[in-house]
């Protein structure tokens, strides 16, 4: 089980790197869908005995993160007719290298964080890495839809961190996280469409034209 | 020790003879060559004796103490071997220049053997100032004057830092001998943090550590070739010697400084070779490569310091040994490269890579020595660059079996690998564009072979590179001993696999050389048995191919530099009909010159104070005098009576 959990966490990290390094939007969305699926499997793999609670958590996560949200994003792409890839502010190679630095920093911090309970070291490292890499994507990409993907990655990182206390605080963690995600994506979806209709472009750099 | 002083005296005599006999050039050249050769050999003998296992020697010159221990003898060889080659190469220059050159050599030798702060700093200053005069030899050109000025400012800033370092180390009433400094080392606050940082700054300015390297490219590119060879091969190594000496006197430097040196070394190495790739001036490119190799040497030094701090003696010995060995090797092949570049400049009159080409046919002997030096500097077997890079790699991975932070030094291996790949690309570009293919301009087409006076020292240096490559045990053994003396541990390599590795590397190099020779022979025989034809290179059916259609240096480097973006410093200007790319020196033009311009601008506001009217100056005097009187009387701030 320990090995399986490590494997799943490793795959989560790899999907994060895929999001950082790929140029195509559809690949990004597929990667975040796969990440959502992995995150759904994660609580099942971490707990040796499966209670109804963990099963519910797993199915709920897979449903929302791996199916609904990616479908919603794909629909948004089709509606907005996004075609061109835009070179981000920070080049792809620099993003990949910064991603490695993020994982290194996260690992160094993870070994020192005083989190109660026993769980694989990789869990904390993965969660912090996803948070940092999600912030990286949010800050450096130009297209609003990729920024939504970055935000989802950030939420995934927080969710993984929440898995360290899943047995202590039953429903609060999951609902809070999922609600966050829903609210975030809905707001961004609305904003995305408003941007698209008002300025005929999804380039969020043009948001600065909103100031007086 | 007397032998050493006699040798230095003979060197100075060589310069004097060239000066006094300048009306009889043949006699002057011969006496210069003989006396310089004799001087270098005599001065090097004590060093060789110490490296072969003899005891360290001490001596006095007046009230100043000098000595040759293991570290000094290694660096003495670094000074004298390329120094002699450059001196012989530059035997046609005016006698005043030759005089300055040999005095510079003597000063360099004194720097590495000084045993007290005063002789060290005096020799250091003499070396720096003489280097300025040697660099600005062609002072009629504005770019040479500017390069000399930047160099002068940089070296004196470094000397200031060194003064501060020695002052803070010796303390208010301390004695200034190196032994006294070593004794005081244990009592320095913070493990010697102030001393170490000042040393890194001051010696780093001399060595060319990024970002303190900004004076290097201009100075080395505009100096005459044998002076560039001396600067790149020897003078910047004095910074390395200084760092070595500080480490050996300090004893156990703190670990954070080791990580700092390792990181700065890695950054210097990568940026140095990247910027070298962007150059299209042959000597500027070689100058940036010196920055890269200084980075590699500092990585070895950093690894050694980490070995001391984390108490892994093998890593300490290997790190210092790698740094020293790479210093010697770099002095050898970088001098050779500069001498070769000088030969091509002498033959064609241009340093621009995009106007050269096809020189292999016109200067075959220069091409062979240049190729040997290029293969050596990239670190490929069977030559000496591979040996010293192996030692540095072995030092970086030596911490793998110990627990603790020293395991992280393995990550530096990736930086070293990247540097190796980029250096390969850079020197493939240089050799290919300058010597191979067809000449790209009329000047290159009329290149002629260098004369014997220039070729002889080049072949000597090339032979040294090949020797160390094929028989690495000759050089690695003494290097390990030097490393042990700096780290103050006994050299015990039993069970580490290092002696076997060194012999097997020699075996591998010999096998490589033999297989290449046999293979070429066999394939030559096979080719002769097949029908062969000569034809023009396939040009894909173009009607009028010219030599200018060949790949240029900038085109060769473009895919590589594209991945690094603005970090490479390449600035392009395009119009509908023209394209021009230029590599700027990022630190100088991006940081230092703008700061200097801002400071000048701010100071210009104070210009009205100095307007030249005498009576206003007298008013200034009266005002200040009044203020002082009032201050003394206690009416304006200050103390009452």
């Amino acid at each position: 089980m320990e090995r399986l959990a490590d494997l799943v966490l490793l795959l989560v990290l790899l999907t994060s790197f895929l999001i950082l390094g790929t140029t195509r939007l559809t690949t990004c969305i597929r990667a975040v869908a796969v990440q959502g699926g992995l995150l759904g499997v994660l609580p099942l793999v971490l707990e040796p005995q499966w209670s109804a609670h963990t099963l519910g958590l797993a199915t709920g996560t897979i449903l929302v993160k791996a199916i609904v949200l990616p479908w919603f994003l794909t629909w948004a792409i089709r509606e907005a007719a996004v075609r061109r890839e835009v070179e981000p502010r920070l080049g792809y190679i620099a993003s990949l290298i910064l991603g490695v630095v993020a994982v290194a920093v996260a690992s160094a911090v993870a070994t020192r964080l005083p989190v109660p309970g026993t769980h694989p070291v990789l869990l904390l490292a993965t969660s912090l890495s996803c948070v940092i890499m999600g912030l990286l994507v949010l800050a450096t990409r130009a297209k609003a839809l990729i920024q939504v993907v970055g935000y989802l990655m950030l939420e995934n990182g927080i969710y993984v961190f929440g898995l360290t206390s899943v047995d202590r605080v039953p429903f609060l963690v999951e609902i809070g996280v999922l609600l966050d995600v829903f609210v975030g994506v809905f707001i961004m979806g609305i904003v995305v469409f408003h941007i698209n209709r008002e300025f005929d472009s999804l380039d969020s750099a043009r948001l600065t034209e909103l100031k007086d | 020790m007397t032998l050493y002083f006699v040798g230095l005296a003979a060197l100075v005599a060589a310069g004097l003879s060239a000066l006094l006999l300048r009306h009889r050039p043949a006699l002057a050249d011969r006496s210069y060559g003989l006396l310089a050769g004799a001087g270098c050999v005599l001065a090097a003998l004590p060093a060789v004796r110490v490296l072969a296992g003899g005891p360290a020697v001490e001596g006095q010159l007046g009230s100043w103490a000098f000595g040759i221990d293991l570290l000094s003898s290694a660096f003495l060889l670094v000074v004298l071997i390329p120094g002699l080659a450059s001196a012989l190469y530059g035997a046609r220059t005016p006698s005043a220049a030759r005089m300055l050159f040999v005095i510079e050599l003597a000063a360099l030798a004194l720097v590495v053997t000084a045993r007290g702060v005063i002789p060290f700093l005096i020799a250091w200053e003499v070396m720096a100032v003489l280097a300025y005069f040697l660099v600005t030899f062609e002072h009629e050109r504005a770019e040479v004057r500017r390069a000399g000025l930047v160099y002068l400012v940089a070296t004196h800033t470094g000397t200031l830092a060194l003064l501060a370092m020695f002052a803070s180390w010796a303390g208010p009433s301390g004695s200034l001998g190196f032994d006294a400094l070593a004794a005081r080392a244990g009592t320095l606050p913070g493990g010697g943090a102030v001393v170490l940082c000042l040393a890194l700054f001051g010696f780093g300015l001399k060595a060319g550590l990024v970002p303190l390297h900004f004076w290097l490219p201009d100075a080395h590119a505009t100096a005459p070739s044998h002076v560039s060879a001396l600067m790149s091969g020897v003078v910047i190594k004095m910074g390395i010697y200084g760092l070595f000496r500080v480490v050996s006197l300090l004893g156990v430097p703190p670990a954070w400084w080791g990580w700092l040196v390792l990181a700065l070394g890695a950054v210097s190495a990568v940026l140095g070779v990247l910027w070298a790739l962007a150059q299209h001036d042959l000597k500027r490119l070689l100058a940036y490569h010196s920055v890269e190799n200084i980075g590699i040497i500092l990585m070895g030094l950093g690894a050694g310091v980490l070995g001391i701090s984390y108490r892994v003696p093998l890593v300490a010995i290997l790190g210092f040994a790698g740094a020293v060995l790479h210093t010697l090797n770099h002095a050898l092949f970088k001098s050779l490269l500069f001498l070769g570049a000088g030969a091509t400049y002498h033959a064609t009159g241009t340093r621009d890579l995009d106007r050269l080409g096809g020189l292999a046919r016109r200067m075959p002997l220069t091409w062979i020595t240049f190729l040997i030096a290029s293969v050596a500097i990239v670190g490929l077997p069977p030559l000496n660059g591979f040996v010293s890079e192996w030692v540095v790699y072995r030092a970086l991975v030596g911490g793998v079996t110990s627990a603790g932070p020293i395991r992280l030094s393995l990550v530096a291996v990736a930086a070293l690998a990247l540097v190796g790949g980029l250096a390969l690309a850079c020197f493939a570009k240089v050799c290919g564009i300058v010597f191979l293919g067809a000449p790209r301009s009329a000047e290159a087409a009329q290149g002629h072979e260098a004369d014997a006076g220039m070729l002889a020292p080049m072949f000597g240096l090339a032979a040294a590179c090949v020797l160390i490559g094929l028989a690495p045990a000759l050089a690695v053994g003494p290097a390990l001993a030097v490393g042990g003396s700096v780290a103050r541990v006994a050299v015990d390599t039993a069970g580490s696999g290092i002696p076997e590795a060194v012999t097997r590397i020699g075996l591998l190099s010999l096998m490589l050389g033999a297989l290449l020779a046999l293979g070429s022979l066999a394939w030559g025989v096979l080719r002769r048995r097949r029908p062969t034809k000569q034809a023009e290179t396939w040009g894909c059916g173009y009607a009028l191919p010219t030599a200018r259609m060949q790949y240029t240096a900038s085109s060769f480097a473009a895919p590589l530099l594209a991945a690094y973006g603005p970090l490479s410093g390449v600035h392009e200007t395009r119009s509908r009909t023209a394209f021009h790319s230029h590599a700027r020196e990022i630190v100088l033009e991006g940081a230092i010159l703008p700061v200097w311009a801002a400071v000048r601008g701010a100071l210009w506001r104070l210009r009205p104070i100095q307007h030249g009217r005498l009576w206003v100056y007298l008013l200034y005097l009266i005002a200040v005098l009044l203020l002082l009187l009032l201050y003394l009387a206690g009416l304006v701030g200050g103390a009452p009576r």
């Binding site: 190679i93 | 990239v378 990736a414 050799c431 191979l436 080719r527 590589l560």
Partner: protein, 297 residues
């Protein structure tokens, strides 16, 4: 030197030209063709050895030295690999540096020979070759770093054959990417293109003909074999096995790797040239993730 390592070396030297054939055959079968026989390269080598050569008037002795170096350097690199699963013919502490440096020497002479012809096509190929090779070196060395951290041994004979772990899986994938780059396969380079402007390695050897080309093709096949042997040795520890079984498993693994290369070649196109550095950095990223994983445990 016992017979075991020498026999394995001999076997790999003999079987190396079959690997490109396996890759091409796989690709042909997957795209609905019968394709050339697997042993086609052997026939090509024999044919080329019998032919004469045409030399350009611009070239010098460097052009004639490069094919010899291109075959000798992978040969010497092969004696450093533990092909029989236990020990190499020649091993010493830090021999992975010599492994990479020998292959770099072969590449150096090849680039110089390309520039020797004075043609802009070869210059272009040489420049791209050098650019991508510089990005492959860090990935290769980072893989070695992971192996050294995992086993604590500093020689190739000790590093290859560690206990399985997730970091080793990353190393194997990274080494596979390195293979694709060094053997000039899709997605780094397309060996089947006939447009000079899209070639990388193929155009660097465009001017060589006859026996020289035979040496170069053999050298390239041998490099592919060496880089295929690396991931197999990383994933499967053969130290305990009997010599013939270990050799058979190595050969089978190398064939599987060649099949994987063929599958990739038939399913994706070559990357845009500006995206190839990204791909190579991804190989380094995988290896560095392996390093971090290894340092964490």
């Amino acid at each position: 030197m016992t017979a075991g390592p020498l026999l394995s070396l001999g076997a790999v030297l003999v079987l190396a030209p079959a690997l490109p054939g396996v890759a091409t055959k796989t690709k042909s079968l997957l795209t609905g063709r019968r394709g050339a026989p697997v042993l086609q390269l052997y026939w090509d080598l024999v044919r080329l050895l019998r032919k004469g050569a045409v030399y350009s008037t611009t070239t010098s002795w460097m052009f004639r030295l490069a094919p010899v170096a291109g075959a000798v350097t992978p040969l010497l690199a092969a004696i450093l690999l533990p092909l029989d699963g236990r020990g190499a013919v020649l091993q010493f502490s830090g021999d992975f540096v010599a492994f990479a440096a020998l292959l770099a020497l072969g590449r150096f002479t090849l680039i110089l020979a390309a520039l020797d012809t004075g043609s802009s096509f070869e210059g272009m190929g040489a420049s791209r070759d050098a650019a991508f090779a510089s990005l492959v070196e860090p990935a290769l060395f980072l893989c070695f770093v992971v192996l050294m951290l995992a086993t604590g041994r500093l020689s190739l004979s000790g590093m290859l054959g560690a206990a399985p772990a997730p970091s080793l899986a990353m190393v194997a994938v990274s080494l596979f990417f390195v293979l694709l780059a060094e053997a000039s396969r899709v997605p780094v380079d397309d060996p089947a293109t006939h447009l000079e402007l899209t070639m990388i390695h193929e155009v660097a050897v465009l001017d060589h003909s006859g026996p020289d080309l035979a040496l170069l093709l053999y050298g390239a096949a041998l490099r592919m074999a060496l880089f295929a042997a690396l991931p197999v040795s990383v994933l499967v520890s053969r130290a305990e096995w009997v010599a013939p079984l270990a050799l058979a498993v190595l050969v089978a693994g190398m064939v599987l790797v060649a099949v994987a290369v063929g599958i990739i070649e038939s399913s994706m196109a070559r990357l845009r040239l500006s995206r190839v550095p990204q791909f190579l950095v991804a190989a380094s990223v995988l290896a560095s993730l392996g390093v971090i994983l290894q340092l964490l445990t």
